[in-house]
Subunit: 337 residues, 2 copies
C-alpha cells in the first residue's frame, strides 16, 4: 500500500514544504522532483497518503502539508543523513577550541547550536551525579551562615549558602572542611554519602547539628545542582520561524518555564550521540503542539545531560539532527578529556 513511489512523494512533500512553507501541489511536485509520472498519478498517491494520515490539506483547494505522523515517518525512514558542511565543521571546531571552563564551553556550544540550526538551542548542564569532587571549600560568612563551594573535576564550581542551626566557629569550620575534602575524594560523590552521614560523630556535641546542616547542604547540592540548569540561545530565531503570534507566545513561555523544557529533555533518550525527536503533539505539552524538539544526550561515557534544538514542526530535520549529533559528540569528547 505504501510503496516506493508513495514514500518518495511523501519525502518530496516534506522537503518542499519545509523549504518553502507553502502547501505543495501535485503539479509543482513533478516539476521540481524528477518523478517520472504525471500530476494525476501523484494526486492518487496523495489521496492514499492522506487516507493514511500522513498528509493533510489546510483547505479544500490547497496543496498538502505533512502531519505530525508524516514528519515522524519522514525522520524515521525517509530522511537521508546530511553530512555537515566543512564550514559548519570548522565553525564548531574553532568555537570549542582552546582551554575553556565548563561555563564557557556550554555557552559557546549553545550559541553554535543556535546559529547552525537557526533554531532555539538549549543545553542542560551536566548532572553532578557522575562527576567527581576535586575540592570543597567551606567559608564562614556570618556566625551562623556559611558558603559551601564545590569544585568538580570538569572545572565546574557549584555554590550554596547554608544557614546553620548553631554557629560553627573557625576551628570547627576548618576541621569540617578538611574532613569533607577527605571523605569526598573518592570516585563519585554519591558513594561518599554514607560516610558523610557519619561525619557528625567526630565533632563536639554542640556543633553536630551545624555539621549535619552542612552535609545536608552538600547532598542537596548534589541532588539539585547544575543538572537543573538550562542555557538557551537563539530565541530570536523563533520570530523568523513562527507564522503567527498565537503559536508563538506559548513557546516563549515554555522556554521561560524552564521546567517544561527540562522535563522534555530528560524524558528523551540518554545514549550519548543518539538523536531523539519529538514532533508536534508528541511533546504532549500545551502550547508546543506545533513545535518539535531534536535532542541528544551527551557526556563522557554514558550521557549525563541533554542538549537539543526547539523549532517549528516544519523544520529541517536532517540538518538539525546532523548538527545536534555533531555538537553532542564534540561536547562529550571535550568533557571526557
Amino acid at each position: 500500500m505504501l510503496d516506493e513511489r508513495r514514500m518518495a512523494v511523501l519525502r518530496a512533500i516534506v522537503e518542499d514544504y519545509v523549504s518553502t512553507g507553502e502547501p505543495v501541489g501535485s503539479r509543482g511536485l513533478v516539476e521540481r522532483h524528477g518523478l517520472g509520472v504525471s500530476p494525476a498519478t501523484i494526486r492518487n498517491d496523495m489521496a492514499v497518503l492522506e487516507e493514511a494520515g500522513l498528509i493533510t490539506q489546510p483547505h479544500t483547494s490547497a496543496g498538502r502539508i505533512p502531519t505530525d505522523a508524516g514528519y515522524r515517518l519522514f525522520v524515521d525512514q525517509l530522511a537521508t543523513v546530511k553530512p555537515l558542511s566543512s564550514a559548519e565543521r570548522r565553525a564548531i571546531q574553532t568555537l570549542l577550541d582552546g582551554p575553556l571552563d565548563l561555563d564557557q564551553i556550554v555557552s559557546r556550544a549553545v550559541r553554535a547550536l543556535a546559529q547552525l540550526t537557526h533554531q532555539v538551542a538549549v543545553i542542560q548542564y551536566p548532572s553532578l551525579r557522575v562527576t567527581r569532587v576535586r575540592h570543597i571549600e567551606l567559608i564562614e560568612l556570618a556566625p551562623a551562615r556559611c558558603l559551601l563551594v564545590m569544585i568538580t573535576d570538569a572545572g565546574r564550581v557549584e555554590q550554596r549558602l547554608i544557614e546553620l542551626p548553631t554557629p560553627l566557629g573557625p576551628e570547627a569550620t576548618a576541621v569540617l572542611r578538611a574532613r569533607l575534602n577527605q571523605v569526598t575524594a573518592g570516585p563519585a560523590l554519591e558513594e561518599a554519602f554514607d560516610e558523610l552521614d557519619q561525619l557528625w560523630a567526630g565533632f563536639a556535641e554542640d556543633v553536630r547539628p551545624a555539621v549535619q546542616a552542612v552535609v545536608d547542604g552538600l547532598k542537596e547540592m548534589h541532588r539539585t545542582g547544575y543538572q537543573e540548569r538550562l542555557v538557551l540561545a537563539g530565541t530570536s530565531n523563533l520570530a523568523r520561524a513562527a507564522a503567527d503570534f498565537r503559536s508563538f507566545m506559548p513557546v516563549l513561555e515554555a522556554i521561560e518555564e524552564q521546567v517544561v523544557l527540562l522535563k522534555l529533555l530528560t524524558e528523551m533518550s540518554s545514549d550519548t550521540g543518539h538523536v531523539a525527536i519529538r514532533i508536534g503533539h508528541e511533546t504532549t505539552q500545551a502550547g508546543l503542539e506545533e513545535t518539535s524538539l531534536v535532542a541528544a544526550g551527551y557526556g563522557p561515557g554514558r550521557a549525563v545531560a541533554h542538549l537539543g534544538v526547539l523549532g517549528p514542526t516544519r523544520m529541517d530535520y536532517p540538518g538539525s539532527i546532523a548538527v545536534v549529533r555533531a555538537i553532542a559528540l564534540y561536547l562529550s569528547r571535550i568533557l571526557a578529556a
Copy 2:
C-alpha cells in the same frame, strides 16, 4: 502657550493611549476625564500640542497618540507618582526574604520585576569593583592548568580557568594561594593591585611566569567579572506587548545581544534609586525605536550596577518607575547588609 489645560490634555492622552492602545479622540477625552470643556476646545489644544511635536495622528481621521517627545514631557513633568499597592509591596518582600545568596537574590528580583511590570526585566550583576574579597582558592587541574576561584563578601563566587606558561607544582600552588589570600584581604581588590604585581618576586625563578599568569588572571577577573553579566526575565511579555512582528524581532535580538542592553544600561544614571528613562529613539539603537527602557542604579552606597525594564514606548511609565525604584532600593538594602 502650553498652559495648564493643554498639559492636562496631554496627560489624559498618554494615559488613555497607554491603557487602551487606541488613538484617542477629542470626544472620548472629555467624556472619560472631567475636563470641563467641549470637544472643540480640546481639538484646538490638540492642534497646539501637535504643532509642538508632542502628539501625532497615525492617519488623518484618527485620534492622537503621543510622540516620543510627548512621553518624555509626560514622564518629566506630568506623571504622578504611583505608590505600590500593598500586594505588590508584599510580593517583593516575601520574594526577597530569607537567607539567599547573590544568584538567588538576583534571579528572584528579576522575576519580580518582570511580573509586576509585565515587561521584560533585566538586572546587571553588581560589579566587582566595590566588593571585597573574602577568599581566593587556587586549584591545580592539570600540570599547566589551574582554576582560580574568588569568593566575595556578598557571597558571590567567581571562577576562571588559567593556562600556565609553565607548571606550578603543588607546593608553589599552596604558597601562592596563601599569598593571594593574604594580599587581597584588604578593603577592596583594586587597592591590592600594586602588591599583586610584586608577588612574583617571592617565588623561584622558574615559576615566576606562572605566578604572574595567575595574577593577571585575577586582575582580568576583576575587570570583566560579573559586571558584564545580565539576567533576564519576562521575555514572553514581549509577545503580549508587541503589535506586530517587525517591531518584535529586533527587540528579541537586542535582548540576546546582551552587549547592546549592557551598553544602554551603563549609560544611564548611576545614582542608587534614581530612575532614568530612555524613550523610543532616545535609545539610539536600531531596532529599539519603539522601545523604552526604565532603569535605575542599585547597590550599597554608590550604585554598582543597574536594573530595569524594557517595553514598548506605549508603556505604563508611572507604574514601571515605581516598581523599578522599589526593587532597586530593596536590592540595595539587602546587598548593604
